[in-house]
Every structure is written in C-alpha cells, then in structure tokens.
Amino acid sequence: MNYRTKASLFRFGLYAFLWIVVLFCLFPVAWMIIISFKQVGESITGFNALRIHTPTLANYKRLFELIPIWRNLYNSAFTAVVGTATTLFFCSLAGYAFAKYRFPGRNALFYFVVGTMMISTEVGAVPLFVLMRRLGLVNSLWSLIIPRMATAIGIFYLRQYMLDVPDEILDSARIDGCSEFGIYRRIVVPVAKPALASWASITIIARWNDFFWPLLFLRASEKYTLMVSVSMLPVSEGLSTPWQVVLAGTSLVIVPSIILYLFMQLYQQADLVAGAVKG
C-alpha cells in the first residue's frame, strides 16, 4: 500500500467515525420529536416509529390537559433567567476581587473556594430541606436561586479571565476618582464581557435542565418547573401515559435548549470555558 492510498483510507475512516458519532448524538433527539407528532393508536415499535401517517398535535394538546404547562414554563424560565443573572453578578464580583486585589488571606481563601468544588452541595440535602422549610422557602422559586447566587466554579472561571485585565487601567481610573464599585461596573464588566457571556450561556442551560433541587424544594404541581412536571408524566395518568404524550413533553423541554444552544453559539462559548482549564 503506497502513501496516497493509506492517506485516503485514513480520511475515509475519519469521516466515517465522525458521521457515526453525529448519528448517535442527533438520533435520540430526532426520534423523540418525530414520535411526539404521531397519533396514539399508531405503532411505535422499532423502526415503525419513524413512519408517520397522519401527523398530529393531539399529543401536545393532551399535555396541556395533564400538567399546568404555562405555569411550569414560567417557573422554569424565571429560575433560569434570574438565577443566571444573580450568579453572574456575584461570581464576577468575587472573581474580580480574587484576580485584582491584594489582601491578606487571598491565596488561602482562593484555595478554599477551589477545594469546595470537590464536595457536592447535594450531600447536605436533608438539613438544607429543613432550613428551607424554616425560611418558608419550600415551594418558592427563590429556594432554587438564593443558594447558588455565588458558586465556586463560577468564581474560579471568571477569575481566570479577569487576571488578564491590565492593572494600569484600573489604577488610572482610581486616580481619576472612580469608586471601587464604579471600576467594576465601568471597566471590569465591559472588558470581561466574552467570559461573562460564555458563563451565562452555560449557566442558563444548566439551570433550565436542573432537576434535583426543584424536585426537592417544590412540592405542588403549580410550583413545579417544567422538568419536574415532565419527569412525572409516565405515571401521571393513573395507569400509564402513552409514549407519544411523554415524548411531546420531553420535546417541550429539550427543543428550547437546542434553540438557545444554536442561537447563542454555545459551542464557541463552551470552548472559551474549556480554554480556562489550562494544562
């Protein structure tokens, strides 16, 4: 085998591999969306699922009767948006302090922040639930927002980026009489915009997809986020909900995040975040 055939064989293998991976990535999602438009009576066995005779919106209609969709949708959107905005503000503030201020205990505090990333908050779920009940936050969307208004991982990522903000600009602003918070707002935030945008897009999707905490803290169907409502679909109709209706529900959850993903160019954003993990 000469060099040319070997190279083209390699190319062929490469593209074959990538197309197979793409197939595996897209297939379950496409499958779900297709079945959600099928009539309940039609066969969904194996490949029959892909043959739609009469596309229908009946499954989505049924969904609106089963769960309070608008209410749940609002709950999900509210927690995702407000949660992301608050976490962005507090994480960038702390990240800025760690990156640009010299103060006693800075390194120790920073290692502490990094260290807390190893222990997941979820292990304290029992006392946290008790605490939320005492604060009257069970069944409140704020129970999902407040505990994560500042997260270690967010601080870690935004700090990495803010290290590159030149000290000279900050100092000259100080000489011009700019307040410390004014420096953060007028100089640091604009400079760090790419990092803030990428962290925002990743956070908003993670919050939209959040399941454990809403399941724990929200205990009435009016208060559920969409994710919790949808997870209960298979058993919510007494015996069992038809697959078509369940998959209409999951489509309703997943399609917005895919649109958001394509719209926000999340791919490039995630690339930026990954770049912060230096070798």
Binding site: G124, V246, I254, D271
Partner: protein, 292 residues
Amino acid sequence: MKPMWKALKRHRYAYLFISPYLILFLVFQLVPTVSTIYYSFTEWNGLRPPRWIGWRNYQLMFRDYMFRDAVRNTFLYWIVGTIGIMTLAMGIALALNTKKLRLKHFFKTATFLPYVCASVAMGLIFRMLFEEHVGLVNEIIALFGGERVPWLASSKYAWFPVVTLFIWRLTPWFTMIILSGLLNISEEYYEAALVDGASTWQRFVHITLPLLGNILFFCFITITVDAWRIFNESYVLSGPGTSNTSLFELMYRSAFTNFRLGYGSALGVVLVVILLALSLIQFVVRRRTGEI
C-alpha cells in the same frame, strides 16, 4: 485585634466583594454538611424531633442489601463511565483536531448537542429506546438475530441504560476540554517527531498524552465527582428494586420518600467521605509523581 481590624478596613472592598460567596457557602453548604453528620446519628421522621441513636444508622447500613447494591452500582457507573467518556472524548477530540477537516464547524456543533439536552428528558427517551418489546435497541438486536434483552425489567441489565445515558450526555463536555488542550500543543513537537521518524501511535503516546496530562487529570476528577453523585439518570431509568439505584438516589429515597431522614443523612456522610477520600488519593498520587 487592632492590626486585623486595620487590614479589614484597608481591604474592605475585596472582602466585601467576596463576602456574598462566603456567606452563602456558610449558610447553604457548610452548615448543612456539618448538620448532616449530626442527623446521621439520629432517628428522625421529620415530624417529631430527632432522637439520638448513636452508630445505629451506620450499623444498619452495613447490613442493608440496598446499600450494598447502591455502592456496587455507583462504583460500576464510575468505572464504566470514566473509561467510556475518556476514550470517546479523546477519540472525538483527536478527530475534530485533524487538519483540513471539512465541515469542522458542523461536526463540532453536532457532537456537542447531547450536553445541552436535559438528562431527565433524555432518560425518558432512553426508557423507550431500551423498552423490551417496542424499544429500538432490541429491534436492532433482533435484526441481527440476537435475543431480546429485558433491559430495564431485569436486575441483571438495568445498569446498562443508566451508564449509557451518563456517557452519552457528558462525553461532549470533555471532548471540548480535551480539544482545547490539543489546540495548545505546539506544532513544533510533532514536526520534530516526524523528522525522527516517529509513527502516528508513537507521537500520540510520547507527545500528545504527556502534554495533556494535567487536562486529562482534570477530566478524571470531574467525571469522578459527577459519577458518585449520579442521580437523574438512575432516578428516571429505575429498574426493579435497587438493581440500578445509585448511592445518591438511595439517599434521596430514604430521606424524602420513606422519611427516614436520619438514615438518609448517614448515606450523605458516606458520600462525603468517599469524595474526600478520592480527592485525597488523587492529591497524594500527584504529589508523589511530582506533578504538584
């Protein structure tokens, strides 16, 4: 006291900017974690005040077959998940890093897609795909003349859909991280190796892998933590009994479905100990190999 006060005053902005995190950490992470330890020594149903019972919850745990199942399952998810994700992510990242790859943007966008899909919703789809009679997986197996497998209906195979979903959803994230590491490797290393006549495999083993060391280690730690706190996947794809229950799911079910809050807390403590031990081992290993 005085110099400390002075330092606080002088650097008040720095402390002020960090304080929200510290306060939130204290209230919503440190205090709950420490209280978990206290509650783990009590019997408590959430209505009456907790009653101190010493080590009973822990003694109970080690005789509990559900606990043994959960540890075995989570361990399995950790091992299979780590191997699966690392291998796939490395393969896909290397492929995406090929020079002059056509449709690169499309491939990157498409292979990242699973990461944005909610694991709970995907779990429901996987439930259908792995269904014994109508599921596509069995249909394909039958097409090749194999026996239909009762995936989620048997305690023997129920772990498989869970770990498949775990790998499916998380691989893209680590592909991204490894790819960004590959982009940082200078072209010169490879050129020098080519001059020396190194094969593709030799270049991978002697250049790519060592230079990615830190990144791969970072991936390994992250996957480890994610695997030991698997919840959504096993919750949505639950098999018979505790056949594929994760440790974390067992904690949730003990505490919030069966209202054995003390026992649930004890399981939480075990999880903390495991996570701490794993990070300690990793730290020691790296110190010994001189990486820190």
